[in-house]
């Protein structure tokens, strides 16, 4: 299962970034596939990106709501919200584990040998503040004289934008280097901070700062796909917790907001058959019954 997931992560990363002409064109892909929102965090200004970042698109809709209304266009981002809602109601936070390129980066970097530290649980609520404030409220409320806001999360925080778009495009388009200022260095600092944190902690960006994961996590308890814990078989050995890439204590909450449904606990950790899952009410493995 782990090997399968790794291959799917790599395939999803390659499909989200399949425009390999960029070294010759010195630009980004401009085809119609950019109308499709990728399920994971992948900057649409990455030179190889073939689809749109749902967070960037959503912020753009928020930032342009006022001018759009004044011109009779009632575009509030229904398409993006619907896309994320459809994915979330199907599988909850599963794309974080299986499809997100930035999730793959974090898992690979965490393999670097080092002392490992747990993330304090209270920090995992920060992502909801970032989602509300930087994706919705600030782009809506802080506007210029013409009513246009800015994409606050992309501009001030997103380390995926820095590593996938900022740094590669600086090499591809040297003329852009003249625009480097405090903002670029502050985003670079955030990227370096998270890269260092990834070495010592499990998926720190997903757990602390990712608004996309925060949005998907709202569906974890209400999605078609659900994890199931059998307390009668569980010995509270915590093997699932130690193996979990998100540091979730599965035995406390089978559909915890931080569970990314990687299925590592089900496939590799639990030796007592206490973990199973269901899809639309159909249990897997067959015969497993919901006890909690």
């Amino acid at each position: 299962m782990f090997v399968l997931r790794r291959w799917i992560q790599i395939l999803a990363t390659l499909l989200s970034n399949a425009y390999w002409k960029f070294p010759f064109t010195k630009g980004i892909y401009q085809g119609q596939l950019k109308g499709i929102c990728t399920p994971g965090l992948n900057c649409y200004s990455c030179p190889a990106a073939t689809s749109a970042c749902p967070l960037g698109s959503l912020q753009t809709f928020m930032a342009t709501v006022r001018p759009a209304i004044s011109t009779g266009n009632y575009r509030f981002g229904f398409y993006v919200i619907g896309t994320l809602g459809l994915i979330g109601s199907l599988v909850g936070r599963m794309p974080c584990a299986w499809l997100c390129p930035f999730g793959l980066i974090q898992e690979l970097i965490h393999k670097i040998p080092s002392p490992k530290f747990e993330i304090p649980p209270f920090l995992t609520y920060t992502k909801y503040i970032i989602l509300g404030l930087f994706v919705f409220i600030l782009p809506l409320v802080v506007v210029d004289e013409f009513g246009y806001g800015i994409t606050w999360f992309c501009k001030h925080i997103c380390p995926a934008g820095t590593i996938e778009a900022g740094i590669p495009l600086m090499f591809l388009r040297p003329e852009l280097r003249a625009l480097i200022g405090v903002l670029f260095y502050s985003k670079l600092f955030i990227l370096v901070l998270f890269l260092a944190w990834m070495v010592v902690s499990r998926r720190p960006f997903c757990r602390v700062a990712c608004p996309l994961g925060a949005l998907y996590s709202l569906f974890n308890k209400y999605s078609l796909f659900r994890m199931i814990h059998d307390p009668e078989k569980c010995t509270l050995c915590e093997a699932c917790y130690h193996d979990c890439p998100m540091g979730v204590k599965f035995y406390k909450d089978a559909n915890h907001y931080d569970c990314i449904r990687c299925l590592k606990c089900y496939q590799e950790s639990c030796r007592f058959g206490a973990i199973s899952y269901e899809l639309a009410g159909v249990p897997f493995p067959k015969g497993a019954k919901e006890k909690a």
Binding site: Q32, C43, K155
Partner: protein, 50 residues
């Protein structure tokens, strides 16, 4: 107890239908072209220079 359980299992389907309706509404409002328009331009904000 039983009705509560049924309600919970219906919720994913209701959410999926609602999400699908939002997608259709967004497409009809021309939001896909708005997404394309933004995504085909180099985003200076994303890079940290604009």
């Amino acid at each position: 107890m039983a009705p509560k359980k049924m309600k919970k299992r219906n919720l994913p389907f209701l959410l999926m239908i609602l999400s699908a309706l939002l997608i259709v509404l967004g497409i009809n409002l021309g939001e896909v072209s708005a997404v394309v328009d933004k995504a085909i331009k180099i985003c200076l904000s994303c890079m940290g220079i604009g």
